[in-house]
C-alpha cells in the first residue's frame, strides 16, 4: 500500500473494505490510499471485484464492512458533485444532442443547465467534435458517442474521475486521445481512477496501480514496483541444445520455442536480483552457437500474469 501521501489529505482512502453476497465474497478486506492528483490504474481479471469496489466507492453499493474516505468525507453521497463517473457499458440518451446530454449530466453535478451546456460545447470543440454539437447522439458513431460520454464526466470539473474500462470500444487513435485527455485531467489537479484490462494504458498513464484477483488486493504500488513482481528474462537464439543452459547461474526457469532454420529460442527467467551478465558469460564460455541475445525487462502485463496466477478470472462481480 502506498502511504506516502506527503502529508496532504488523500483523495481516497479505503480501509478493510469488504462486500459479501450471501456466502460469496466479492471484495475481501481491501485497503489502499490514493494521493490527490494521481492516476490510479485499477487492474484485475474478470470477477476480481473491480466494479463492486468502484460501486462501493461511489456509494452505489453498501459495503458489508470497512471504511471509505472520499475527498475528505466518509459518506460518498456528500461529495457526489465532485465526482465524474463513467460506467463500463456505456450509453447516452439517444435523442439528445451531445451538448444537451453533457449539459443535463453536468446540471446533476451542481452546474446550471446553461453553464453545463456552455462547458459541454467548449469541451466538444476542444476535442474536435464541433461538427456534432447539435446532432442527435443516435446518429453518431460508437466511438464518437463514447467520447461524448467521457466528456460528460468532466464538464463539471470533478475532483475525482472514475472511469470503468474507458478504453474499450475505442479505436487506437481515440485510445491515444483518451490517454492524453486523462493526463490533462490529472495535470489540472483532478484524481483519476480507471479500470482496464489493457496493461499498456496503465503502464503509460498510472502513478499507481492496484491489482485485484478473486476479490482480494494482490498488489498496490507504482508501475515500476509492480514490474519487479515478474522476473527479468534473458532470450537466447541459436543452434544449440537447450539442455546445456539448465545449469547457468541465476536462472529460475527455462522455456524453449523452435524458430526457422533449425535454430531455437530459449527464454531464461532470471532469479530475483540475479545479474544477466553471469548467465550470458557462462553461455558463451560453453561455446554455444548463439546468434542473438536480448535482456528483457518485465512489463506490467508480465507482472499481471504472475500476480494473478495467469490472469484467469471468473464472472465479473
Amino acid at each position: 500500500m502506498r502511504d506516502d501521501v506527503g502529508g496532504a489529505r488523500p483523495a481516497l482512502s479505503v480501509e478493510g473494505l469488504t462486500k459479501r453476497y450471501g456466502a460469496f465474497t466479492a471484495v475481501d478486506d481491501l485497503s489502499f490510499t490514493l494521493r490527490a492528483g494521481d492516476i490510479l490504474g485499477f487492474l484485475g481479471p474478470n470477477g476480481a471485484g473491480k466494479t463492486t469496489t468502484v460501486r462501493m466507492i461511489l456509494g452505489l453499493v453498501v459495503p458489508t464492512a470497512g471504511r471509505i474516505n472520499l475527498l475528505g468525507e466518509d459518506d460518498p453521497a456528500k461529495v457526489r458533485d465532485k465526482i465524474g463517473f463513467l460506467p463500463e457499458e456505456r450509453g447516452l440518451y439517444r435523442r439528445m444532442t451531445p451538448v444537451q446530454a453533457i449539459g443535463f449530466l453536468a446540471s446533476l453535478k451542481g452546474l446550471s443547465t446553461a453553464e453545463g451546456r456552455r462547458r459541454g460545447r467548449e469541451l466538444l470543440i476542444a476535442h474536435g467534435m464541433e461538427d456534432v454539437l447539435t446532432r442527435p447522439i443516435k446518429s453518431l458513431s460508437k466511438g464518437m458517442a463514447q467520447k461524448v460520454q467521457i466528456l460528460s464526466t468532466l464538464a463539471h470539473g470533478p475532483d475525482l474521475v472514475i472511469l470503468d474500462e474507458p478504453f474499450s470500444g475505442l479505436d487506437p487513435a481515440n485510445q491515444q486521445a483518451l490517454e492524453d485527455l486523462i493526463r490533462g485531467v490529472a495535470r489540472d489537479g483532478a484524481t483519476v481512477i480507471f479500470s482496464t484490462h489493457v496493461m499498456q494504458h496503465a503502464e503509460r498513464l498510472c502513478d499507481q496501480v492496484l491489482l485485484m484477483a478473486n476479490g482480494r488486493k494482490v498488489f498496490d504500488g507504482t508501475v515500476e514496483a509492480a514490474r519487479t513482481a515478474a522476473p527479468r528474462t534473458l532470450v537466447l537464439e541459436g543452434r544449440f541444445d537447450p539442455a546445456a543452459l539448465a545449469d547457468l547461474p541465476g536462472i529460475a526457469d527455462v522455456s524453449t520455442a523452435p524458430i526457422e532454420d533449425g535454430a531455437v529460442r530459449v527464454i531464461l527467467a532470471l532469479k530475483k536480483g540475479a545479474p544477466a551478465q553471469d548467465a550470458l558469460r557462462e553461455a558463451f564460455t560453453k561455446g554455444l552457437d548463439i546468434l542473438r541475445f536480448e535482456l528483457r525487462e518485465p512489463h506490467l502485463h508480465d507482472a499481471f500474469l504472475v500476480l494473478t496466477n495467469g490472469g484467469g478470472g471468473e464472472g465479473e462481480a
Binding site: Y21, R55, L58, G59, L60, V61, V62, A77, R80, D81, I83, F85, L86, P87, E88, E89, R90, G91, L92, Y93, R94, R95, M96, F104, L105, S107, L108, K109, T113, S152, T153
Partner: protein
C-alpha cells in the same frame, strides 16, 4: 430538490419532443371531431330515402305513413320521401312483391332516374293489418319501426272509434300519458335535473381519467427506466443524485407529460362546451367548485398516481427488455382491469357494501372514491381511506427506494428472486 426538478424537466422534454406526444395531444380533439362530424357529414351527404306505400286495407294508412315520414329526422331533413308506386299494382300482395323487386334491386329506376329504397305493403290480417317492409339494404334500420309505430297508433284510434269513442275523447286519451317527475332530497331543487346528475358523471370521469393516466404513465415510466438501465445511464444518475430524486424526477416528469395532454384535452372540451352550451359548462364548473370537490378529486388523483407510478418505476428498474416488463406487468394489468368494472356501478349504487369495501382496498381507493364523489361519502371515510392510501404509498416508497437501486444495478435477465428479496429486505446490492 433541484436535481429532482432537472430530472423531471429532462423526462418531460424527452417525451414532448417525440411524435407520439403530439399524436396523443391531438387524439381526443381529432377523435371527438370524427365521432361528431362523421355521422353529421354522412347524414347530409346521404340522399333522403325514397319509399313507396301500397295499402291493401280500407283504412287509408298511406296518408299516415306519408305524414310520419315527412317529419324531420336527424339533420332536419324528412326521414323519407313517399312516392306513388312506379306502376299499376296488382291486387295480390305476393305478385306486387315480384313487380317491385327489380326496383329494389336497382334493375329498374323510378321516373326521374332515382332508385327505390324501400316499399311498405300494408295488407289485411284478420281484424288487424300486416306490414311488409321491403328494403334495398338489409342493414338499414329505423324506418320500419317508424312506419310500424305510426300504423299501430292509427289502428288503435280506428278500433276505438269503431267501439264508439268520439274524437274528443280520443284526443284526451292521447294526452293522458302521465308526466313522471324524479325527486330526491339530494337534488338541489328537490326535482332531479341534469345538474344534479353531473357530480356523479364528473366522479366517474375523474376515476376513468386517473385510470387512463395511470395506464399511459405506466408505459412511459417503464420505458424510461428500462432505457436508462439498458444504456447504463442509470448508474451515472445514481452516482449524481439520490434514488428519491431520480424516482421523484421521473414520476413528476411523466405526470407533467400526461398533465399537459389532459390540460389540453380539457381546455378544448371546456371551450367547446362553453360555446355550445354555456349553462352546462357553468354547471360543470360548479360541480368542481361546490363542496371543494376539486380538492377531493385532487387528493385521490395525487395519491393514486403516486402509488401506481412508484410501483411502475420500481418494476422498470428490474427490467432490461419489454418482454421482462410484460412478465411483471401482467398481474398489474389484471388488477387495473377491476376498477372500471365497478366505477360505473358506483354511480348507481355508491353506498353498496361492495363499493364501500372496494374503497378500502388501497389499490382501488382512488378510483372508487372518485366515482363515489357524488354521494358525498362521510368525512371520516374520506380521511381514513386517504390516510390508508397515502400510508400504503409511503410504505411502498420506503420499500421501493432501495429496491430501485438494487434493480438498477443488477445485470442480466430479470431475476424474480432478486426482485422479491430486494423488496422484502429493503436492500440494495
Amino acid at each position: 430538490m433541484i436535481k429532482l426538478l432537472r430530472i423531471a424537466r429532462r423526462e418531460y422534454l424527452a417525451y414532448v419532443r417525440t411524435p407520439g406526444f403530439w399524436l396523443s395531444l391531438l387524439l381526443l380533439p381529432v377523435g371527438l371531431s370524427t365521432i361528431v362530424l362523421v355521422p353529421m357529414v354522412m347524414n347530409r351527404s346521404s340522399p333522403t330515402p325514397i319509399v313507396t306505400v301500397v295499402d291493401f286495407t280500407p283504412f287509408g294508412l298511406t296518408a299516415v305513413v306519408r305524414r310520419t315520414l315527412a317529419e324531420h329526422g336527424p339533420g332536419g331533413r324528412p326521414r323519407a320521401i313517399v312516392v306513388p308506386p312506379p306502376e299499376a299494382f296488382p291486387a295480390d300482395a305476393a305478385q306486387l312483391r315480384g313487380r317491385l323487386s327489380p326496383y329494389l334491386q336497382g334493375a329498374r329506376t323510378l321516373p326521374g332516374g332515382r332508385g327505390l329504397d324501400a316499399a311498405v305493403i300494408i295488407r289485411p290480417a284478420g281484424e288487424s293489418v300486416a306490414i311488409d317492409y321491403w328494403s334495398r339494404n338489409v342493414t338499414e334500420g329505423g324506418l320500419e319501426d317508424t312506419v310500424g309505430n305510426a300504423i299501430t297508433a292509427q289502428m288503435r284510434r280506428i278500433r276505438l272509434q269503431h267501439l264508439g269513442v268520439d274524437q274528443a275523447t280520443l284526443a284526451r286519451v292521447d294526452a293522458s300519458n302521465p308526466v313522471v317527475n324524479f325527486y330526491s332530497p339530494k337534488a338541489a331543487a328537490g326535482k332531479v335535473s341534469l345538474a344534479d346528475r353531473l357530480p356523479g358523471l364528473a366522479g366517474l370521469a375523474m376515476g376513468m381519467l386517473l385510470w387512463m393516466v395511470v395506464l399511459t404513465g405506466a408505459g412511459m415510466l417503464l420505458n424510461s427506466v428500462m432505457e436508462e438501465k439498458t444504456s447504463r445511464i442509470i448508474e451515472v444518475l445514481l452516482s449524481s443524485a439520490s434514488v428519491p430524486e431520480i424516482m421523484g424526477g421521473k414520476i413528476l416528469g411523466v405526470a407533467c407529460v400526461t398533465g399537459t395532454i389532459l390540460a389540453f384535452w380539457m381546455s378544448i372540451a371546456a371551450v367547446l362546451l362553453t360555446l355550445r352550451s354555456p349553462d352546462l359548462a357553468g354547471a360543470m364548473a360548479g360541480v368542481f367548485l361546490d363542496h371543494a370537490r376539486w380538492a377531493y378529486f385532487a387528493l385521490y388523483f395525487l395519491g393514486g398516481y403516486l402509488m401506481f407510478a412508484t410501483l411502475y418505476v420500481t418494476i422498470g428498474a428490474f427490467c432490461e427488455t419489454s418482454r421482462e416488463a410484460q412478465t411483471l406487468l401482467g398481474p398489474m394489468m389484471i388488477i387495473m382491469s377491476i376498477p372500471p368494472l365497478f366505477m360505473s356501478q358506483a354511480i348507481a349504487h355508491p353506498d353498496a357494501p361492495l363499493m364501500r369495501t372496494l374503497s378500502w382496498v388501497p389499490l382501488f381507493t382512488p378510483f372508487m372514491m372518485a366515482a363515489r364523489a357524488a354521494n358525498e361519502p362521510p368525512l371520516w371515510e374520506v380521511a381514513a381511506t386517504a390516510a390508508l392510501m397515502f400510508g400504503v404509498t409511503a410504505l411502498e416508497l420506503w420499500v421501493a427506494v432501495p429496491a430501485f437501486k438494487s434493480g438498477a444495478l443488477a445485470t442480466g435477465r430479470f431475476d424474480l428472486r432478486l426482485f422479491f428479496t430486494s423488496l422484502a429486505r429493503r436492500q440494495a446490492p
